[in-house]
């Protein structure tokens, strides 16, 4: 009984340290939960690569799947090869960014026009769908005929492949404004233009970024895929890949592939970050 009144004072400091420890552990645990599984998967794949490379493939056929450390050594640590790949990365990044910017302007303008009248939406939407479903490689020869074989043509491919998500998401944002808000604006004499500027466009911003995030990844794909056909101007990642293929440099093809992925992921994350920064005061964080 007497110890009961003593214990709190004894336990208190211990509780304090206990209190801060789970928190730190909690953070470490969370990090482990987030990063652990994908890292394990990566380990498994790297292991399989080594297994195939050293056990299954005979030395003279090892080039088919070079061991991962060769990819790192020749692709990322070799100065000349790294230089080539970084230059190509920069080139592809420019093309995809230009494509995304133009797709944004065209997509947003189309969505604005569609939001103003049902007949505009009805006249344009089927063609937006057609642009979306047509295999991009099937139009590439035509684009080459019209726009040549360098920067412009590559950007056009990016625009075609990435414009659709921007149109649909922006349109959704513009059209889902609460009717009560439209009423309020109308009561104070706000016409279409005023409602578009002060109500519909700000309301659509989060949706615009949802579309942009998808389009950012698509635009990178367009920039790389287009290059397998357009062989003029400075080389990007796609042309570099094709070049390494011609010389059977599988290790360099793989390291270039890593750069392709990195560019796609970086665009996706960058657009997401800009969108979140812009709207963080407006809406609750989406938590899954």
């Amino acid at each position: 009984m007497t110890s009961g009144s003593v214990t709190p004072t004894v336990i208190e400091p211990a509780e304090l340290t206990l209190d801060s420890r789970p928190r730190r552990q909690g953070r470490l645990k969370r990090l482990l939960i987030v990063l652990g599984p994908p890292l394990v998967t990566l380990g498994v794949f790297v292991g399989i690569a080594y297994l195939v490379s050293y056990v299954i493939l005979s030395p003279d056929r090892r080039w088919l799947l070079p061991p991962p450390h060769d990819v790192v050594k020749n692709g990322l640590l070799n100065g000349q090869h790294l230089h080539d790949q970084l230059n190509a990365l920069w080139d592809t990044a420019q093309v995809s960014l230009a494509g995304l910017a133009i797709a944004f302007v065209i997509g947003a303008a189309t969505a604005l026009a569609m939001s103003q009248a049902k007949w505009v939406e009805r006249s344009l939407y089927p063609y937006a769908v057609i642009v979306q479903v047509t295999p991009i490689l099937a139009i590439v020869p035509l684009i080459a005929t019209w726009f040549g074989y360098d920067f412009t043509a590559r950007v056009v491919v990016c625009v075609l492949i990435s414009v659709f998500p921007i149109i649909t998401n922006t349109l959704h944002g513009l059209l889902t404004v609460d009717t009560q808000l439209h009423d309020l604006f109308k009561l104070h004499g706000a016409g279409r233009i005023k409602r578009m500027l002060k109500l519909q466009i700000p309301h659509a911003i989060p949706d615009v970024f949802v579309g942009l995030r998808v389009s950012a990844g698509l635009s990178v794909i367009g920039a790389i895929v287009g290059e397998f056909f357009f062989r003029q101007g400075t080389p990007g990642l796609g042309r570099l890949l094709d070049l390494y293929r011609a010389y059977l440099q599988t290790d360099l093809m793989m390291s270039t592939l890593l750069f392709c992925c990195a560019l796609g992921i970086a665009s996706f994350l960058a657009v997401g970050l800009i969108g979140r920064q812009l709207t963080k005061d407006w809406y609750e964080e989406d938590n899954r």
Partner: protein, 262 residues
């Protein structure tokens, strides 16, 4: 000077409405394009500075009635006359713009009306003070509670100093306690600002507590089946709700609602 100006604004009568009336419905009805009859043969008038409540079950056309009153949804039969153009509409939801701060939201209507920045700021500051939200000017709606958002919505409507308020179940989504507090505030604002108001609700006690006259509506199509006069003076205090006379008026409204179903 300012008194003259406000009288001029509020007293502006058109030939259609009788003197002293801000709004009148004469056998007004509304049938939508798809054939749905939402409101049938409604007649009533609203005097300057009168607080009218409309009670009815969900889906009885109360919201349509308010949209008709505001002119947003023109009547398809009969006639609706307004002697005022400046109407304060408070919706079921707070309908704030999430990308604007409290200040920005409250300034919205003055901005749409084309007022100068300094005037907008002054009007907004006064309205924010009236609803007791000083100190929250820079907050975004996201950070406010439901009750506070509704106050912002009321403040926004107050900035234009409307002689007629249309309130469409404005406190319906709030909890009982917040709702009671906002009822007090509305009474206080009504007493100090002297606007006319139509308050739509499905709460009988809210209707009786706020208004000097209750219209009872029945659904499909919405019709006015009874009118109950509420004899209590303003300003009213919360104790009124426990007064036996209050109960008897509420009972009268309740009975009329039930009869409407038969």
């Amino acid at each position: 000077m300012s008194v003259d100006a406000s009288i001029d604004k509020r007293g502006a009568t058109s030939s259609a409405a009788a003197a002293g009336e801000v709004l009148s419905f004469r056998s007004a009805g509304k049938t939508f394009a798809d054939g749905t009859e939402a409101v049938r043969d409604v007649s009533f008038s609203l005097r300057q500075g009168e607080f009218l409540a409309i009670v009815g079950p969900s889906g009885c056309g109360k919201s349509t009635l308010l949209r008709m009153a505001s002119g947003l949804s023109p009547e398809t039969s009969g006639q609706v006359d307004r002697s005022v153009r400046n109407i304060g509409f408070v919706f079921q939801d707070a309908t704030l713009l999430p990308w604007r701060t409290v200040q920005g939201n409250v300034e919205l209507l003055a901005e749409l009306d084309g007022l100068k920045r300094s005037r907008r700021e002054a009007l907004a500051a006064e309205a924010i003070r009236l609803v007791g939200l000083e100190g929250f000017e820079k907050h975004y709606p996201k950070t406010l509670s439901g009750g506070m958002r509704m106050r912002v919505s009321v403040a926004r409507a107050l900035t234009t100093k409307p002689p007629l308020f249309l309130l469409d179940e404005p406190f319906g989504a709030l909890d009982e306690i917040t709702r009671g507090a906002l009822n007090e505030e509305l009474i206080r604002l009504y007493a100090s600002e002297g606007f006319a108001a139509i308050f739509v609700t499905h709460s009988i006690s809210e209707a009786v507590y706020l208004s000097s006259r209750v219209l009872v509506m029945t659904p499909r199509p919405g019709r006015i089946v009874a009118e109950v006069t509420v004899p209590f003076d303003y300003p009213r205090s919360p104790e009124l709700r426990f007064d036996p006379r209050f109960s008897s008026v509420a009972g009268e409204v309740s009975q009329a609602l039930r009869q409407g179903y038969e």
